[in-house]
């Protein structure tokens, strides 16, 4: 029996409508609550004033510099982490001894909160980009590594034996057997890491004061420019949503060929 639940254009249309209504409702509440005195206007300015502050920010070059800085730290950190994690994951994953040797260490290092490294980052790099990169890389690295390890473990032993019986070289086995199997997992890891990397990039800027949106938020807070602060927070949220959407659609596009039936391994 097919349940008339999904894939119905009328339903999905009304879903989008309801979602838009929800967002409009949020804006309305944010506009009215301060205006009606339900919350102090100094703490939560009306939505229209936040929007005005956002428009004003968007007119300043400083905002765009900060946004670019954040995106550079995010993308560079993510790229380094993905590269290192994929390499490490394939090496560790395809050599059984290494795998069992490193399992406990990975399990120990992974849950260490990356913010523990903030003092270290400050001492090593001060308020440079390096501080942000260190935190972003550390946090994103584990997300990808764990997924790559799952992916390598998922390689069908029969496929591997086949490749060996045809005397594939080690590189050929990795290139033609291991990599295609692990690829969907790599994408999942990248998607998870992309969100984490943004969180850590902004956190580092906020706490350490390295250049970027996070620092601008700290500055706005210190100078009591409350609407500006909210405007910048909205920007970080929108950035997060965009990264999420891009990562998800990218993953789906690239993996359209792959009959992916595995359950997602949540890290």
């Amino acid at each position: 029996m097919t349940s008339p639940r999904r894939g119905n254009p009328a339903r999905s249309g009304s879903t989008a409508l309801l979602g838009a209504a929800g967002l409009a409702g949020l804006l309305l509440v944010m506009e009215l609550a301060p205006r009606l005195g339900l919350v102090d206007e100094r703490y939560l300015p009306p939505a229209s004033r936040i929007a005005a502050a956002l428009a004003e920010e968007a007119g300043t070059p400083a905002f765009w510099t900060a946004l670019t800085d954040t995106l550079i730290a995010w993308s560079a950190g993510l790229a380094i982490a993905v590269g290192a994690a994929v390499l490490a994951g394939i090496v560790i994953g395809s050599i059984p001894v290494l795998r069992s040797l490193t399992a406990s260490t990975i399990e120990f290092l992974r849950p260490i909160p990356s913010v523990a490294l903030i003092p270290l980052a400050v001492l090593m790099y001060g308020t440079d980009l390096g501080s942000t990169l260190l935190l972003v890389c550390y946090a994103a690295f584990w997300q990808v590594l764990v997924q790559v390890l799952y992916g390598v473990a998922d390689v069908d032993p029969v496929a591997f034996e086949t490749a060996r019986s045809f005397r594939f070289s080690a590189w050929g086995r990795i290139r033609h057997v291991l990599w295609p199997t692990a690829l969907p997992y790599v994408f999942t890891g990248v998607r998870l890491a992309a969100s984490v990397a943004l969180v850590l990039a902004i956190t580092a800027e906020l706490v350490i004061g390295s250049p970027g949106l996070g620092k601008e938020i700290a500055v706005a807070q210190a100078s009591e420019a409350v609407p500006t602060m909210y405007a910048l927070i909205v920007v970080t949220g929108v950035l997060g949503v965009i990264i999420n959407l891009l990562a998800r659609t990218g993953e789906r596009r690239l993996l359209a060929w792959h009959q992916s039936v595995r359950g997602e391994v949540t890290a």
Binding site: M1, P4, N8, P9, A10, R11
Partner: protein
């Protein structure tokens, strides 16, 4: 008595309408075992969901002992086809059987007794503390039957309960249903797409047309009350009856094409 009168169900999605059931009328007397059989996709499941009060019909009504059904009636138990999904995997066999009794407010000692008795009755003595997924498919369906039996229903609805088990298990379970029915005196409405099964089990077979569904024909099964897999299925009368049902189902399919 279970009465289905002028039952009609139309699914609406957007501005498209699908008429699943057109006009169904039949009754099941107290203590009777009636099989509903029809071609695949004939709305058997829709019908059963209407009878069990899980789905509101578009028109017509279902009555149990004269009372209209507008939600799952208290004296009715359902055995679903998808035993793997109908049994709760987070509960042991015992808890699965016991939960409906708890909801009904049955006392602790009596619950114990009912759970034990019903598991014994379906041949699952000693599996009470296992989880359903530790059992084979046939045994899981036995748990689902035990759950229904422990509920002490007056009416038992079975929705293609054996469609997903292998042939040998299926024969065993058919005999189990006959045996429980005779012992407990419940009314059973048994939905199936298997013609032999309907003739073997039922006192009466109600044949359905293809969707939009109407009752194609009703047939009394005048086989001896004592049935078993070997002799009954070899009985010439059994073969006549199953041929009759088969012809009707084929006729129903042909009519649908025109």
């Amino acid at each position: 008595m279970l009465e289905v009168k002028g039952l009609r169900k139309v699914y609406r999605s957007g501005n498209r309408e699908v008429e699943a059931l057109r006009d169904l009328t039949f009754t099941v007397d107290n203590g009777e075992l009636v099989c509903l059989v029809g071609p695949s996709g004939c709305g058997k499941t829709t019908l059963l969901r209407c009878v069990s009060g899980l789905l509101d019909p578009t028109a017509g009504d279902v009555r149990v002992d004269g009372k209209p059904v507008d939600g799952p009636p208290p004296g009715m138990a359902v055995v679903f086809q998808e035993y793997g999904r109908s049994l709760f995997p987070w509960m042991s066999v015992r808890d699965n059987v016991e939960l409906p009794l708890k909801q009904k407010g049955v006392g602790r000692a009596r619950r114990r007794q009912l759970v034990e008795q019903s598991l014994d009755a379906v041949g699952l003595t000693g599996t009470a503390s296992a989880y359903p997924w530790q059992l084979s498919g046939g045994m899981q369906q036995r748990v689902a039957i035990a759950r229904a039996v422990a509920y002490e229903p007056q009416t038992l609805l079975m929705d293609e309960p054996f469609a997903a088990v292998d042939a040998q298990t299926r024969a065993d379970l058919e005999d189990l249903v006959r045996e429980l029915w005779k012992r407990l005196g419940v009314t059973i409405l048994f939905v199936t797409h298997d013609i032999d099964e309907s003739v073997y089990l039922g006192q009466r077979v109600v044949m359905l047309s293809t969707s939009p569904t109407v009752v194609q024909e009703e047939l009394a099964i005048d086989l001896p009350d004592q049935r078993d897999q070997l002799t009954t299925r070899a009985d010439p009368r059994f073969i006549q009856l199953r041929t009759r049902v088969y012809e009707q189902i084929q006729a129903a399919k042909r009519n649908a094409v025109h």
